[in-house]
């Protein structure tokens, strides 16, 4: 095993060991603190390995692969497991482990109020998540990615449902699992189709174009679920029931981006299927615009961020649909940093004011200056203000979309860029500017465990964009920031959005179309449609079938038994119980038999 492979294995196995330890030693877990130590130590080891791996690689180096047979029957190997280290996985590994470590350190402070048992359980889940995510990132083939994919889904389910005593959290967890599982059926079928046509799950598999289209469409179905694309996005806003750090890590920075990562990873396959690209382009654009619209009217700070995540994932998917894997991947990386930053900052606020509602905040910039600055950097970066990370990656995407599909997706995303700046400006104004609310008056900055990660994440959120060229070279793509019309338009719109938000909300006003959007949000048409499908179609069908099975299928069996018993009663009359009658019957039988013998 080569050093890079070994490092990758360490990155995967360290959290796995922590998770295993915490599962097998319940006593340790229940103490709480040791669980956090184990989990964070494992994440540190993972981050160290990931950094060593990433820095040890020079750009353009060929991929390092180390696999062992996993699903093997006799001499036939169906699938292997192992590590596949190239620029993409190394870079992704660094992003994932870095954000994870920040979030975990943040969590130590954020979850302090939790009971010991819950505290330990929380970190056990985190270790499980990091293991699964790393497994997904270093996957040498589609099957291992799917394994990691499902396991992060499990971690997401467990973490959303962390406050399982709350019925809303329980519902949200189950809903998230169902929606992603529904989408994952696509991946499962896609895997089977891919294997049947090419005999492997390798990234390099090249099926015929028709098969490739089918496989990629099926895979994209899974991506839509995991990366919360319209109309499968409904679980993501609900997922905010989980603890805020969890939202930062899973439902903003890493897990939901796994769908994007899948497409980046399987890019050779997706290149064979232009049709899928078109579908992705439209789905991404529509998701971005739709979610941005809904983000405008949310009153819950986490919901704003959740819809924003949806919207940004839409950007990435659109970029992938346009055929630019690098643009998507670049935005994935920058988005991971600034969205994690935003969520953690929001977590810090929520921790301080004990509420998610924007109305309960306000004027926090004085009481929590550091958080305000961090959140501000995140807002500006997300809005795409020139010079910050989000600007570069978003503009790359918009540039890639130029001229695609009659400029419509381009226009949609440009509009979304304005909306993004506007709703993020609104959040910042409502939370940090203006007069403090009753609760916000007593808020104060938390300790280093919470502010430290904010500082760590704020740095890349601000400056990551300048490393775009380096990243491109590192993953084997090319990227040259250019300043044409699109970036100019986008940055103008971004600035305009923020200014507009300050102007509108700074004076306590509301935009004219907010009511319309609010109605749309309340109506929750997509959510309703799914609910209808669930309760009116699935549950109704299951109720009907349950009745049918009990009273028709089983009823038929009962009827058979009934008929047998009745027939028995009917025939019983001949049983007189008198020996002579039986004897006569025997003799009559003998006579009949001999008659038959004589006559035949």
């Amino acid at each position: 095993m080569t050093t890079p492979a070994l490092l990758a294995v360490i990155a995967v196995c360290a959290p796995a060991a922590a998770a295993l330890l915490l599962v097998l030693a319940p006593a340790l877990r229940r103490q709480g603190a040791p669980a956090a130590v184990a989990c964070i130590a494992a994440s540190l080891a993972s981050l160290g390995a990931a950094l060593a791996l990433a820095l040890g690689r020079s750009p353009g180096e060929p991929a390092v692969r180390h696999v062992v047979p996993w699903l093997q029957a006799g001499s036939r190997t169906i699938a292997e497991v192992g590590v596949h280290v190239d620029g993409i996985s190394a870079a992704m590994l660094v992003v994932v482990t870095l954000v994870a470590l920040c979030v975990q350190v943040f969590s130590v402070a954020y979850m302090r109020g939790e009971a010991r048992r819950g505290f330990g359980r929380y970190f056990a889940y985190h270790a499980l998540f990091l293991f699964s995510m790393n497994l997904l990132v270093v996957a040498p083939n589609l099957l291992q990615l799917f394994v990691g994919w499902e396991l992060v889904g499990l971690a997401s389910y467990l973490l959303i449902g962390f406050y399982f005593a709350k019925p809303s959290a329980a519902r949200a967890a189950v809903k998230a699992f169902w929606m992603t599982k529904l989408a994952d059926m696509g991946i499962l079928v896609g895997l089977v189709v891919l294997f049947v046509s090419t005999g492997s799950f390798e990234w390099t598999a090249t099926p015929e174009p028709a098969v490739a289209t089918a496989v990629t469409l099926l895979l994209f179905l899974g991506v839509m679920g995991k990366s919360a694309q319209f109309p499968l996005h409904v679980w993501l806003p609900d997922a905010m029931e989980g603890p805020t750090p969890v939202s930062a890590l899973l439902h903003a920075a890493t897990m939901v981006a796994a769908g994007v990562f899948l497409v980046v990873r399987a890019h050779p396959l997706f290149e064979l299927a232009p049709t899928t690209g078109d579908v992705m382009l439209w789905v991404g654009a529509v998701t971005a615009a739709f979610a941005a619209g809904l983000a405008l009217v949310q009153t819950d700070i986490k919901k704003v961020l959740a819809y924003s995540t949806c919207s940004q994932l839409g950007y990435m998917v659109a970029a992938l649909g346009a055929g630019s894997a690098f643009a998507g991947f670049f935005h994935l990386g920058t988005h991971a940093c600034f969205k994690a930053l935003l969520f953690l900052a929001a977590g810090s606020v929520i921790h301080a004011v004990h509420s998610n509602e924007l109305a309960e905040m306000g004027g926090l910039r004085r009481r929590m200056p550091l958080t305000a600055v961090a959140f501000g950097i995140g807002v500006l970066s997300l809005a795409g203000v020139p010079g910050l990370a989000g600007f570069f990656s978003k503009d790359l995407i918009l540039t890639e979309l130029e001229g695609r599909a009659g400029w419509v997706p381009w226009a949609l995303l440009l509009l979304t860029a304005f909306a993004t700046a506007f709703y993020m400006g609104r959040v910042f104004v409502l939370a940090f500017l203006g007069a403090p609310s009753a609760r916000a008056g007593h808020a104060h900055e938390a300790g280093l465990a919470m502010t430290g990660p904010l500082i760590v994440l704020a740095v890349p959120s601000a400056v990551a964009g300048f490393f775009g060229g380096g990243l491109a070279a590192y993953v084997g793509a090319s990227y040259e920031p250019h300043f044409g019309l699109t970036p100019l338009l986008a940055s103008t719109l971004a600035l305009a959005g923020i200014v507009a938000a300050v102007l509108v909300y700074g004076r306590g006003r509301e935009v004219a179309f907010a009511d319309a959007l609010r109605r749309l949000d309340r109506a929750g048409a997509v959510d309703r449609a799914w609910k209808l499908l669930y309760s009116s179609a699935l549950l109704w069908l299951s109720g009907v079938l349950g009745w049918f099975d009990r009273y028709v299928i089983d009823g038929l069996m009962n009827a058979t038994g009934f008929a047998t018993l009745e027939a028995g009663s009917a025939v019983r009359v001949v049983q007189t119980g008198r020996v002579r009658d039986y004897a006569l019957a025997v003799v009559a039988g003998a006579i009949l038999l001999s008659l038959w013998g004589v006559l035949s």
């Binding site: 002579r580 006569l584 003799v587 009559a588 003998a590 006579i591 001999s594 008659l595 013998g597 004589v598």
Partner: protein, 182 residues
């Protein structure tokens, strides 16, 4: 020729005694008449080159079964010595059935082309023993199981009424079946 005469004599004795078996009002007499029929059968067996079976017939039937029957009759007769009279209410129906069956079998007999061999094809005793314990071993073993089961069953059945009898040893006026209580 002697064999034929012996056969006809035995046959006549058997038929007559059989008629007494079914007609005799006294059960003890009927059993004794049955013994005569069985003895006749033994004679016919011997004439049919089955000496071993003839011996078995005498031993088990005449010696065993008839004795058993006599015991059975004595145990179940009324203590005052009177004999339950055999009713002939349905004798017409019985006679008709018997006659019909007999006629049918007779017709079948007459219409059949039966084999007849001058010299005996019957196995000798040694051969009989070998076939019994070789070719028919399973049936033999199963039969022994049946006998055991019959033995146990007979004992169980016969003992079953014990606890229902009164102190006098006589049946109760209205005995209750054990099965009903359970």
């Amino acid at each position: 020729m002697t064999v034929d005469i012996a056969f006809w004599v035995a046959a006549a004795a058997m038929v007559i005694s059989a008629l007494f078996v079914v007609r005799s009002a006294n059960l003890v007499h009927a059993v004794l008449w049955l013994a005569v029929t069985l003895l006749g059968t033994a004679v016919v067996f011997a004439l049919l080159d089955a000496p071993f079976l003839a011996g078995v017939q005498v031993l088990t039937y005449v010696g065993g079964v008839v004795t058993l029957m006599v015991f059975g009759v004595m145990l179940t007769q009324r203590h005052d010595g009177s004999v339950a009279s055999a009713s002939n209410v349905q004798s017409l129906r019985g006679a008709a059935a018997a006659a019909l069956l007999f006629t049918l079998l007779l017709v079948a007999l007459l219409r059949s082309d039966l084999p007849s061999s001058a010299e005996s094809l019957a196995p000798d005793t040694a051969e009989l023993a070998r076939t019994l314990l070789d070719e028919h071993l399973i049936a033999f073993e199963v039969l022994s199981l049946l006998l055991l089961a019959a033995l146990v069953g007979a004992v169980a059945l016969a003992r079953r009424g014990d606890d229902e009898r009164g102190a006098s040893g006589l049946p109760r006026a209205r005995p209750r079946a054990r099965g009903e209580a359970e």
